[in-house]
Symmetry: C2
Subunit: 226 residues, 2 copies
């Protein structure tokens, strides 16, 4: 399945590389696809897109946001939450119409530091904002409660025995996303219900960061025990 | 250890009964201790205080909020978050001075229905509000991410293999609370740090309710996998 990923930071690169390895042609979308030699993302794992293309091989490509969205049968947002809406507006609904949009973005208020704050929380969610703005898109919020490394390798902690949450209004799109999550190694895929339940997972940012600060520098994951 | 519990709903009654069974004399504090025959709390588990006293035996008693707080070497809030501050003001700092206050209350905005909303969230927490109002109290926020049944019986789900969070500024008080949690059957007691980390656990209300609605009517718990 052709997949377009909007965003070239750690999340976009990590998801893209793994999805290519799983046999999916991937195009990463970025503001300026000509900038192949600038490190993307932060920290020691930041790679240039040239390096990423060399790693990912011939099934991988880089394009504009719009090209990446148009190329994908399924589209993934791997963006900072503050720019998700703007980037999707740049792309336009035509390139996304009827497609499943796997949204990993979180409403972190990047203008503040720690403790982490959110620009939308219990009365709305970024998932709902994006779904309202693009009503013909089948938005599924998932993978937003963990690091990029864990998204593509749940076995990094606890032998993969932990939970990934899924929120969205379209059952077919959620089934498609669940299939992709299983390919990534996920077993405990918990469908929370409609997109309003994204409030719950987006607000987990706060406990997630508190736990990571308390246990630093370990990877951590949440399991719903029942 | 003498324990005073503020609140006579399901949480107060359940914690009180179990703590008496564990050998701690308990006084439940309530607005009007003469009302022994009115069911407290909601749902099928709501009991009158007369029934509770009969179940709990001679080490149990009922008094005013102030009497319960004064009686306890350790004090527990088992209150709706909207009244926690007011009840503690009724009690007064003198009855709480230097004591460990185990705070289970959550900032649920009870004026609204579902999806659940909070009257304080990422920029502050109920734990911090109470700690600021009573600076000589050693406040420890814990047990606020689960039902009353699970608080006193973590083995109800997953053989007890899940996490209880602890937040507070006073290491000695947190050690005392951790000891009490171990008596209740908890093994995975995760100290998140200072009271500001209560923002994380209080904001878990949203994911907790989403999961309970998705999996209803099972008990659920969260485990930090690392």
């Amino acid at each position: 399945m052709h997949i377009g990923i909007l965003g070239t930071g750690i999340v976009g690169q990590t998801l893209g590389l793994r999805l290519v390895q799983l046999g999916h042609p991937v195009m990463l979308g970025t503001r300026d696809p000509a900038q192949l030699d600038e490190p993307k993302g932060r920290g020691p794992d930041a790679r240039t897109l040239r390096t990423w293309l060399a790693l990912a091989g011939s099934a991988a490509s880089v394009g504009t946001f719009r090209e990446a969205a148009a190329s994908g049968e399924l589209v993934i947002t791997a963006l900072s939450g503050v720019v998700s809406l703007e980037v999707l507006q740049t792309v336009g609904e035509a390139s996304l119409h009827g497609k499943t949009l796997l949204d990993t973005s979180n409403p972190i208020d990047v203008s503040r530091g720690f403790p982490l704050t959110l620009f939308v929380k219990d009365t709305d969610s970024l998932g709902e904002i994006l779904q309202r703005a693009f009503p013909t898109v089948r938005l599924v919020k998932t993978l937003n409660t963990m690091t990029a490394a864990l998204m593509v390798n749940p076995h990094l902690v606890g032998h993969g025995d932990h939970t990934v949450f899924v929120s969205g209004n379209d059952a077919q799109a959620k089934a498609q996303v669940a299939e992709l999550l299983r390919e990534l190694g996920w077993h405990d895929i918990l469908d929370l219900g409609d997109i309003a339940t994204a409030r719950g997972t987006e607000m987990m940012l706060s406990i997630g960061h508190a736990v990571m600060r308390a246990l630093s520098p370990a990877e951590i994951a949440f399991k719903v025990v029942r």
